[in-house]
C-alpha cells in the first residue's frame, strides 16, 4: 500500500510543481526516488510532528498541496491540535498519511498501534478519512485526496487486501462491493478485509453467503449503500482494525439509527476499547483481539444462531 501511495504521489508531482511531500523523519529509503526527482518538493522536517503539520499548513496557505507522512499515531495524535486548528479550521489542502494502521507494527508495542486514529480523525470537521483495503485503493485514494478540498487522512496498512474486482471505479465516499451474497453483509475498511474474505469462505461452507463491501471512505460515509444493505441482509457486520468506539462501526450505527435504516441484526468487529501489551505480529494480534477470520466466522454463526 505504501509503495502504491508513493508511486501515485510521483505521478502527481510530475504534473504539479505545487505538490509538496513532508516527512517527520520516517520513511527510510522509500522517498529516495521522489526526492531525487523533485528535490524542491520534498522536505524532512525532522522528528517534529507538530512542526510537520504546521509547516504543511503554512505551505498550503500559500497555495501548495501538501502530503505529510509518518508512522502510526505520530502524524495524527501527536499533533492533533495542529491538525484541528491549523489545517482543518482553515480548510487547507493538507493530506495526512499514516503508514501502519491498526496492528501493522504489532511487535513494536502499544505506542505503535494505531487503533484510535479513525475514531479521532473522523470527529474533526473538514476531514476526509480514507482507509484503503488494498494497494489499488491506496493509489486511487492518493489521487482523489490530492484533488479534493480540505484535509485528508489516509491510513495505510501493512497488509494488502486482495483487489478482486479490477474494473471498479474509485470515488471518495463511494464504497466498493467485492463479493455478492444473500445472508450477511460485511462492511470493511483496511487490509483486515483479508480476514473477512477468509471468513466468508468458511461461512459459505456452513451455508451462509455474504457480500463484502470495502468502505474505504469512513467520512463521508456511503450512506446510500448502507440504506440498501440494511434492508437486504439478516446481519450487517462492520470490521475494522481499531477501537470499535467511534470508528467505522460507530459511523454505520449512527447513520442507521438516525435514518431509520436499521438492519435486523448488526455486529461490530474491532478492538474492544483496550490497548495491547502483548507482543505479536499483525496476524497474531488480530487473532488475540478477536478480529481474525476464525473469530469472525464463529461470532457470525452464533449471532445467526446457526
Amino acid at each position: 500500500m505504501r509503495d502504491s501511495f508513493i508511486q501515485s504521489l510521483i505521478s502527481i508531482a510530475k504534473k504539479d510543481k505545487d505538490l509538496v511531500l513532508l516527512t517527520a523523519d520516517l520513511g527510510f529509503v522509500i522517498f529516495d526516488e521522489f526526492e531525487s526527482m523533485f528535490p524542491g518538493q520534498y522536505f524532512n522536517v525532522g522528528v517534529a510532528e507538530q512542526n510537520l503539520t504546521s509547516i504543511a499548513s503554512g505551505l498550503a496557505l500559500e497555495g501548495k498541496k501538501v502530503f505529510t507522512y509518518s508512522l502510526g499515531n505520530f502524524p495524527t495524535l501527536r499533533c492533533l491540535e495542529q491538525i484541528r486548528n491549523d489545517a482543518c479550521y482553515h480548510n487547507l489542502n493538507v493530506n495526512i498519511v499514516a503508514s501502519g494502521g491498526g496492528f501493522s507494527y504489532g511487535q513494536l508495542g502499544m505506542s505503535h498501534h494505531a487503533t484510535e486514529d479513525i475514531s479521532i480523525m473522523r470527529a474533526l470537521p473538514n476531514v476526509t478519512v480514507v482507509v484503503p483495503s488494498n494497494p489499488w485503493e491506496a493509489e486511487q485514494a492518493t489521487q482523489e485526496l490530492y484533488k479534493s478540498e480540505g484535509v485528508g487522512y489516509l491510513r495505510l496498512d501493512k497488509t494488502n487486501g486482495v483487489q478482486k474486482n479490477l474494473d471498479s471505479i474509485f470515488k471518495i465516499g463511494k464504497s466498493i462491493s467485492i463479493q455478492n451474497g444473500d445472508d450477511v453483509c460485511f462492511i470493511v475498511c483496511g487490509g483486515i478485509i483479508n480476514e473477512v474474505i477468509n471468513s466468508a469462505k468458511s461461512l459459505k461452507e456452513a451455508g451462509v453467503s455474504s457480500e463484502i463491501i470495502s468502505m474505504h471512505t469512513i467520512k463521508p460515509l456511503d450512506e446510500k449503500i448502507l440504506a440498501k444493505v440494511s434492508k437486504k441482509y439478516k446481519l450487517v457486520v462492520s470490521v475494522e482494525e481499531g477501537n470499535v468506539l467511534g470508528g467505522l462501526g460507530s459511523a454505520i450505527s449512527e447513520f442507521c439509527m438516525e435514518s431509520g435504516h436499521i438492519p435486523q441484526k448488526f455486529m461490530k468487529i474491532g478492538l474492544k476499547d483496550t490497548y495491547s501489551s502483548i507482543v505479536g505480529d499483525q496476524a497474531y494480534l488480530r487473532s488475540k483481539y478477536q478480529m481474525d477470520a476464525n473469530y469472525i466466522t464463529e461470532a457470525i454463526l452464533r449471532k445467526l444462531s446457526i
Binding site: V20, G40, Q41, F43, V45, G46, A48, Q50, N51, S54, I55, A56, S57, G58, L59, A60, L61, E62, G63, K64, E81, Q82, N85, D86, Y89, H90
Partner: protein, 269 residues
C-alpha cells in the same frame, strides 16, 4: 515613516482595545496594550498590503501568534481600512466574527487564526518556505509572546527556520516578562533568551518595543543577504499606556469597567 503618526495609530489601537474589552467584557487588555506600538509600526509603516485586496499575492504576511491579543489586530486592520471601525463594537458579542482569540473567518486582513499558543511561528515558517520555493520576495512577520516560548512546538520551528535559511521570516517577541500567573522567569526561565535564539541559528536584535522609530528601523533593515531568520526581542511593558494596568498580571484577565474604563480612556487622550 512619520513617528508621530505611528504614535497616534498606537494610541488609537489602545483606545479601541480598552473599549472593545470593556464592551464585550473580554480579557487580555494588558496583552494588547503591550503590542500596540508594534502593531502600529507594522500596519502603519512596514507591511506592504492593499486593504481593498486583502488576498493580493505579493502582500507581506503578518500573523499574530499570541491570538489572545486579537482585538489589537482587529483594531489595526480597521484603522488601516480593511473594514469599518464600527465593526469593532461587535467584539466578543453574540453573533460577531470578532472572537476573543483572533480568527480569519469573515474578517478581511487576518491571515491566520490562532489562540492556542505555539502555532503561529511554525505556520509562518511554512508560509515563508513556500515563498522561498516560489522565489517570491514578500516578507513574513509573526508576533509572539515571551511566555509562549514555553511551547515546544516553537523550538521545532526555530530549528526548522534556521536550517532552511528562512531570511524572509521575522519573529517579533513581545517581551513583557509576564505570563498567565507569574513572571516568565519565575514560571519557566527564558533567560538567556537572546542567546537561546542565537544558538539556534537566528539573528537576534533587542529593541524597545514601545519606541516606534527604533522598531521601524529594525523591522525595515535589509538583512536578506545574511541567510538567517530574524528574531526581534521587543522589550515591552504589559498594560503599557494605562498606569494602573502596567506590569499587572490582573489585566491579563480583568476587563475595564466604570471608573477603570473612564480613567484608562482619560490616560490615553
Amino acid at each position: 515613516m512619520i513617528e508621530n503618526e505611528l504614535k497616534l495609530l498606537a494610541n488609537k489601537i489602545r483606545r479601541h482595545a480598552i473599549k472593545m474589552t470593556s464592551i464585550g467584557g473580554s480579557s487580555h487588555v494588558g496583552s494588547i496594550l503591550s503590542i500596540a506600538d508594534i502593531l502600529a509600526v507594522l500596519y502603519g509603516a512596514v507591511l506592504n498590503f492593499k486593504p481593498n485586496q486583502p488576498d493580493w499575492p505579493d502582500r507581506d504576511r503578518f500573523i499574530l501568534s499570541k491570538g489572545h491579543a486579537g482585538a489589537g489586530v482587529y483594531a489595526a486592520l480597521a484603522e488601516s481600512g480593511f473594514f469599518s471601525v464600527d465593526i469593532l463594537k461587535t467584539h466578543y458579542q453574540n453573533g460577531s466574527n470578532l472572537s476573543g482569540h483572533v480568527s480569519h473567518k469573515g474578517i478581511p486582513g487576518v491571515e491566520f487564526s490562532t489562540g492556542s499558543l505555539g502555532h503561529g511561528l511554525p505556520v509562518t515558517a511554512g508560509m515563508a518556505l513556500a515563498a522561498k520555493i516560489d522565489k517570491k520576495n514578500h516578507h513574513f512577520f509573526v508576533l509572539m509572546s515571551d511566555g509562549e516560548c514555553n511551547e515546544g512546538s516553537n523550538w521545532e520551528a526555530i530549528m526548522f527556520a534556521s536550517h532552511h535559511r528562512l531570511n524572509n521570516l521575522t519573529a517579533i517577541i513581545d517581551r513583557n516578562m509576564l505570563q498567565s500567573i507569574h513572571s516568565t522567569e519565575e514560571t519557566l526561565e527564558l533567560e538567556p533568551f537572546a542567546e537561546k535564539w542565537k544558538s539556534f541559528g537566528w539573528d537576534v536584535i533587542e529593541v524597545d518595543g514601545h519606541h516606534c522609530k527604533n522598531l521601524f528601523d529594525e523591522l525595515t533593515k535589509d538583512r536578506i543577504s545574511n541567510n538567517k531568520p530574524l528574531c526581534i526581542i521587543a522589550n515591552t511593558t504589559k498594560g503599557k499606556g494605562v498606569s494602573f494596568m502596567e506590569n499587572k498580571v490582573l489585566w491579563h484577565y480583568r476587563s475595564p469597567k466604570g471608573d477603570e474604563f473612564d480613567n484608562a480612556i482619560k490616560e490615553l487622550e
